[in-house]
Symmetry: C2
Subunit: 248 residues, 2 copies
DNA sequence: CTATCAGATTGATCTGCGTCAAATACCCGA
DNA sequence: TCGGGTATTTGACGCAGATCAATCTGATAG
């Protein structure tokens, strides 16, 4: 669902240009049939809210294109991002009717939705789907816990470096340019969204990005296009165990 | 698994003094039989590590008594708690062999363990167990996300107030003294463990507890025994939506 | 080409929390 | 009861990051 290191098993259904990661690859055909019957598409404009916290959410979905975020907010407006949804990621709570956070499109977003009740019924009939979802949810829980370490204990510079290497890794796993020292990608987030991700202010984000640029850890073409000349360097700036990543 | 608002369905197996929350109540008898065959007990002393990060973990388990924590650590020793296990909570990753964090006993702990392979086989045979685990994992993911909001956006005072009301709520759901304005409980954590939970230093924790005491939000008998004269007051100090809790 | 506006950068200043250090309370065994 | 070690409190001080404010950049529409 978010921040996965490695794309898990998944299947391509019908005319969707992506592979839905919620469903197991081993038995594509049967589920494809069933899914076709209950799926539909919805598109959202940049900035639009997809689901409000506490609202009824009567579908589960995969992101087909664009970026969506999960955020939580305090009464006075302080907001924290708690999930980042990139194409092929899954949203929804089979078994529960509402989520305690807002889902927002940060770019134009196309989602492939499945009506919840039929989806849940299919889950009951095909047990390995529940197991597949359990797997994914456990992965996401691990990601959330790594994120907690970042929020609770890392410095601003480490936070930025961590975010950059997460985005780079995500990109790499899509483009299959793994294990390169050099890496080039576009930031899918504004400075403000990055701040909400990291528990910082957008000014601090900007300053730390400038600092990383000044120190030669990254290069920028425009505001969003990033070149990392040495991923090892970036990852050691991130403060994690140095061997935790995709690079030998 | 941790920080649940409401104790979910669960079952009592054999001579365990607790109800294991990992297993559905609807069909107790069958699973009881199966679980009896593969379970065993392990006890740990306060301070002892139950599982090291990256170690093989060949069992899943429920906490019977005592308190255990999940923690993640950076190379230089900064540590962040990412899970708090109270009696009846579940640990383990069916489907995966290792967890990326340390599990530590903070008090003497007794765990009721199930060997992983047989447990997973039982999961395959009884599909609603996977669904039950999915449910629990989703709850835990929600809790982790609320925790992220706390780590990223709350002040030290709000963090302390949040932790106190979480512990109070947890206690309340066990003792069934829900919906009282006044609440009395023991802190199960040292100041240092609280600091690791909240992403603070132990000095800041101590200072903020003193401040809450000075301001009449809480009273202390000794270091650990807490009286909250007005839960509404405490919860508004915590900064959440005021209606998010157990009180009307 | 210029006006406009959102996003981003940069600077100056302030402050909450961390750091370092010392004092105090508490627990348990001898 | 005393001693020693651990948990906790409290104080003084400094700094990372927040806040407030001004400027700059770049994309888009007219």
């Amino acid at each position: 669902m978010t921040l996965h290191e490695v794309p898990p098993l998944s299947l391509r259904c019908g005319d969707c240009p992506i592979r839905h990661r919620a469903v197991c690859a081993r038995c594509e055909s049967d589920e494809l049939q069933e899914l076709e019957g209950i799926k539909y598409y919805r598109s959202f404009e940049a900035g639009q809210t997809i689901v409000w916290a506490e609202d009824q959410m009567d579908f589960v979905a995969s992101v087909v294109s664009g970026i969506a975020t999960l955020t939580q907010t305090l009464e006075d407006g302080r907001t924290q991002m708690v999930g980042l949804l990139l194409p092929s990621d899954f949203v929804g709570r089979p078994g529960l009717s509402s989520a305690p956070y807002n889902v927002t499109a940060t770019t134009d977003v196309l989602m492939c939705c499945f009506r919840k009740t039929p989806f849940e019924e299919m889950m009951l009939r095909t047990p390995h789907i529940a197991q597949r979802l359990l797997q994914m949810t456990l992965d996401e829980l691990d990601a959330a816990r790594e994120w907690m370490l970042l929020l609770g204990r890392k410095t601003a510079r480490e936070k930025i470096a961590s975010l950059l290497s997460i985005v780079a890794r995500r990109n790499a796993s899509i483009r299959l340019e793994v294990a390169e020292e050099r890496m080039v990608f576009d930031l899918p987030l504004t400075r403000e969204a990055m701040a909400d991700y990291l528990g910082l202010t957008l000014e601090t984000v900007s300053r730390q990005i400038s600092a990383l640029k000044r120190d030669g850890v990254i290069e920028l073409q425009g505001k969003r296009h990033v070149t990392v000349p040495d991923m090892h360097r970036l990852m050691s700036e991130a403060g994690d165990d140095s061997d935790g990543g995709i690079l030998g």
